[in-house]
Amino acid sequence: MELLVTRDAATAERSHWLLLHCVAVFAFLYLPIAILVLYSFNGEGVGGFPPHRLTLDWYRTLFADEPIWDSVLNSLEVALAAMAISLAFGVPAALALDRAQFPGKALFRRLVLLPLILPGIITGLSLLMLFNVAGMKLSLLTIALGHGTALISVATTEVFAGLQKLDRAQEEASLDLGANYWQTFWRITVPNLKLPIIGAALLIFTLSLDEIAVSFFLIGRDNTLPLEIWGRLRRGITPEINAVSTVIFGFSLIAIVLWYRLRMRGEGATDAGIEIVEVAEGGQA
């Protein structure tokens, strides 16, 4: 069908410009990251053209940098806890949105999804006030609660999308054959939602590792990795920060491609990721 559009001479002419535009936008999106990676090997600081004296020294410095590794451990703890919270509440939330009718359902859906499109500062500050009123000391726990709560939205949208494709007959059969709801949930519902759940977990983990705006307000004594980097940026920069950024980029890349592959197996189409936007915009759920 698309052939009809491209075969047209005038369109073909225009598509050269479109192609050029695409190349330019991709350059705009990727060039800064490429430069960042390149200068992590630069012996002479983070700027300066052309790069001089390529070296692995900054990676050596990085691997010997204890505060960074402490913050990495903190970040991993936070991300695991956030993942547990988001899944523990996000999966039932998706089931509730799909299967139950209750008063305030529309408001509930909006509230769950709001952090996805809300600037981090609002989520962070409102939680800061909650913890303050509750007399909770700020720590890694408050960050994990913040991330976990904000990322329920991701778990819910991913699982909700999976539920739309689920064949209810299996669950029905299981119930008819005498399994109770609990057994049906663990033996039929969850295995069928395996891909969306793993995908959501991966995404939540990555997003939590990278998160900075919410953490900024909920930070106690211990830094997460992005906040440790943030602190250093304000004191002056060395290519060591390029090196750690490169490592972060590498890990994000692996996680995202993995997530995407999972989604492709689940969907077999380019829909992956679109649901999140659509559901967040209130279009579908």
Binding site: A10, L29, F49, D210, L253, T270
Partner: protein
Amino acid sequence: MFSRGYKAAVTLPPVLWVALFLFTPYVLMFCYSFWSVSPAQTIVHSWDLNNYKDLLRVDVYWQTLLRSMWIAARVTIFSLLLAYPMAYFLSFQAGKRKDLLYQLVVIPLWVSYLVRAYAWKTILGSDGVLNTLLQYVHLTRHPLEFLLYSPFAVVLTLTHIYTPFAFLPIYAALEHIPRNLVEASHDLGATPAQTFWRVILPLSIPGVLAGATFAFVLSLGDFLAPLLLGGPSGIMISNIVVSLFGAAYNWPLGAAISLCMLVLVVGLIFGSERLGKKWSFS
């Protein structure tokens, strides 16, 4: 087929959690915005409108809000200009490479905000990659100082960060356009330009609105890029809020500004949704 017990079991825990950690905090923000700070630096729980009066009276607050909106508006326009043609190309002309290209646009969406903002800092600085490159090829003799610590740097960086956000819903909208409508338009003798302006563009408006909302809302509330790259002239409204919650210690006033932002943002989301529904044909 699902019993009441099942429905209660999946509904209650998330509803309670959301009530505690998402609803209560917004209510608290609302309450705080009417309170005040005593000279002894404690929160006074007396209810009045003084914070909101301050917002209107003190020029710097609403001027900064306006400037932030102007920055966000520029980011939105540039993101749309970059994202729309790309989404169009991917949806209609990319053929077999569609999946790969789509993946390439989506990857930066999930890659660390901080990493990308930092990358621009190393590029735009006076000893940065761009300035030294320009001098290396003898285009300029001195570093261009306006590149970093300016609204320009903030707009550029935020455009870089939010272009994929704008792209996604536009692409989704284009993908949902039934291709036989496009064919019908061709068959009935419309030129490609007419087909674009009268069929494709109108049908993609809901996606454009959604993308614009994302870009505008997220960049309006940004405070990290201005801190990192904005300099004094690139300060945005969230930076004022941050300082009110930090060194300036006036949580109630900060809460009032945040609440205004929240209302503005939620209003925009609702508005664009309504408008989008009007434009969608299904």
